[in-house]
């Protein structure tokens, strides 16, 4: 086996383990889906008439406007504590056990990261399905649904660094949890709840630099209008930049810890 095949093989088997760890704790599902679901259900009722404001571009259902942001929020929730697993393994000595196996160090990180794609994709898919049941539309059909899951999974892996970096650098659960919490406003400072036109000036600037916005806009376009390369590729590029930055730091921090 060449090194790359070996890395894939090792990551796959370690990934199966982290996936089991995820699936066997029902609390994981609940903690990820609870807030996006509550926001979807409550806000779509509470602010039902907000769509009458100019700027919503003729959208008649606030639920339909709200759903894309909550799908993205679900993907974010799915990975916001992702660094915890590695941290606990560091503390219990399990990481040492893995380090003493004749495998690549990167397979250890791969085994943590790769499953996050599927976790984020499937959790976002569940929220998307619920949105559709509640009456949101899916203009781009089944293909669009799958594409949204892919984008959400990609965002999950890209954004996971935001949890791994503090976990690897501070080795403290508290610090990791706090920083995850501080990143939630990324969703509020995007077009998740209201269109850009209704935001105060400073928020519009933040919004323009917020990668979550581009993910939300792509999902919204796929749901309400149809398929458009320009919108999707914008999202892909912004996720790629986010991922490149966060993962580069994560790799460095992991190497520092496990090298």
């Amino acid at each position: 086996m060449d090194r790359l095949t070996a890395l894939a093989f090792e990551s796959y088997h370690l990934g199966l383990r982290t996936t089991r760890r995820f699936l066997r704790v029902p609390a994981n599902w609940i903690s990820i889906l609870f807030f996006p679901l509550i926001q979807l259900l409550a806000f779509s009722q509470l602010y039902k008439d907000i769509v009458q404001l100019p700027g919503f571009g003729g959208e008649t259902s606030y639920l339909a406007y709200l759903a894309p942001g909550q799908v993205a929020f679900t993907a974010l929730m799915a990975v916001s504590w992702s660094g915890y697993g590695l941290l606990i393994e560091y503390r219990t000595g399990y990481l040492d056990k893995l380090r003493a196996y004749p495998i690549s160090r990167w397979a250890i990180l791969g085994g943590e990261m790769v499953p996050l794609f599927f976790q984020a994709a499937f959790m976002a898919g569940i929220l998307l399905a619920v949105s559709l049941l509640l009456g949101a539309g899916m203009a781009s059909g089944v293909g669009g649904f799958i594409l949204i899951m892919f984008l959400s999974g990609g965002f999950g892996v890209a954004f996971a660094g935001a949890s791994f970096i503090p976990a690897l650098l501070t080795k403290s659960e508290q610090a990791t949890g706090t920083i995850s919490l501080l990143l939630f406003p990324l969703v509020f400072l995007s077009t998740a709840f209201v269109p850009k036109a209704l935001m105060p000036g400073w928020m519009q600037v933040v919004n323009d630099w917020n990668p979550v916005t581009y993910l939300i806009e792509a999902i919204r376009f796929l749901m309400s209008t149809g398929f458009d390369w320009a919108v999707v590729s914008k999202a892909v590029v912004s996720l790629a930049i986010l991922g490149a930055v966060l993962q580069a730091v994560t790799f460095w921090a992991f190497r520092r810890l496990a090298g």
Partner: protein, 337 residues
């Protein structure tokens, strides 16, 4: 399983580890373990045992000196060392959300074994460790003893040439401990070379064919348990005296016994003991009747007598001036990467 006995299983030369510039965890230890041995590193907490283990298992780089495992340099050739090494660390490192079987299968996968071999070996080890019944339960539900045995099994899946165990029975109740001892002896008898650390003298005494006593990062003395105890050269005789000692004149019982036994036992070999007075006497079995007669004739009544052969604790005491049981609070919190 180690084919050639010519290549030592472990060979270290002046192995040194300094943490954070000034904490010397290992101060140049040199020792050798041959194929088939069950070798022990015995020492109090904080003596440097875990640091030595971590270097030998490629988890930590030495500051100076060298270590070869199965003829391979741990710094230059870590991957080859890892392939042939089985390791169980001080706290059983298990994934709480994997079952016992999954744990062993993953260990096999990580060592590049074929699935057919993994299945066979997993069944074998689960049976051997008495875990067959709980093989499909999550390890998070296991008792301490079961976790230990599973962790040990996961270090054995790939039939390692050398098994390294850090404090294998730490935190176990006496029954689980003796069960594990038997298992370790069986594994060693089947041909696996073993290095273990312990701060339990009974454990080192019972299990190890040879051991090195380590204190403050240095090897104090090395040899077989019997050999080490013999080298002490004397048994311990504890005398319990009537009313705690000479009552009337209120003198120091130790001084009194020293005076009475002058010429029979060197004065320095008589020391105080919680139960009375302790003497260090070569071949106590033959000497005690004469000693008692001398004391009796001089009016000192001995109400109790205990004769003890030297233990490894006495060996440790002799070489370090301290008891191995004394706790110290000088361990580094994180043993580094």
């Amino acid at each position: 399983m180690l084919g050639s006995r010519a290549v030592p299983a472990i060979e270290t030369d002046g192995l040194t580890k300094v943490y954070g510039g000034d904490t010397k965890a290992l101060d140049g230890i040199t020792f050798r373990v041959d194929g088939g041995e069950l070798f022990g590193l015995l020492g109090p907490n904080g003596a440097g045992k875990t640091t030595a283990i971590r270097i030998l298992s490629t988890l930590l780089r030495p500051t100076a000196g060298s270590a070869r495992v199965l003829g391979l340099d741990v710094v230059a050739d870590p991957r080859q060392v890892r392939l042939r090494l089985g390791l169980a660390l001080q706290t059983p490192a298990l994934d709480a959300f994997s079952t016992g079987r999954e744990t062993l299968e993953l260990a096999g996968r990580m060592h590049g074994m074929k699935m057919l071999d993994i299945r066979r070996r997993t069944d074998e080890l689960l049976e051997l460790m008495g875990l067959s019944k709980v093989a499909t339960k999550l390890t998070g539900t296991y008792s301490g003893g079961m976790k230990r045995r599973l962790d040990l099994a996961s270090a054995l899946v790939h039939c390692p040439d050398l098994l390294i165990l850090d404090e294998p029975t730490e935190g176990l109740d006496p029954q689980s401990r003796s069960t594990l001892w038997e298992e370790l002896e069986r594994i060693n008898a089947a041909g696996t070379t073993m290095l273990l650390t312990t701060h339990y003298m009974e454990e080192a005494d019972r299990l190890c064919s040879r051991l090195a006593i380590i204190d403050s990062g240095s090897i104090v003395v090395e040899g077989g348990p019997e050999e080490l105890k013999h080298a002490i050269g004397a048994d311990t005789v504890v005398l319990q005296l009537d009313g705690g000692g000479p009552g009337a004149d209120g003198g120091d019982p130790v001084e009194h016994v020293r005076d009475l036994l002058d010429g029979m036992v060197p004065r320095d070999d008589v020391v105080a003991h919680p139960a009375g007075v302790s003497l260090s006497v070569p071949n106590a079995g033959g000497a005690v009747p004469d000693l008692l007669r001398r004391l009796e004739v001089n009016g000192l009544r001995v109400t109790g007598l205990q004769v003890r052969q030297p233990s490894l604790d006495d060996v440790f005491l002799k070489h370090t001036g301290r008891s191995i049981r004394e706790e110290s609070a000088d361990q580094p919190i994180l043993l580094g990467w």
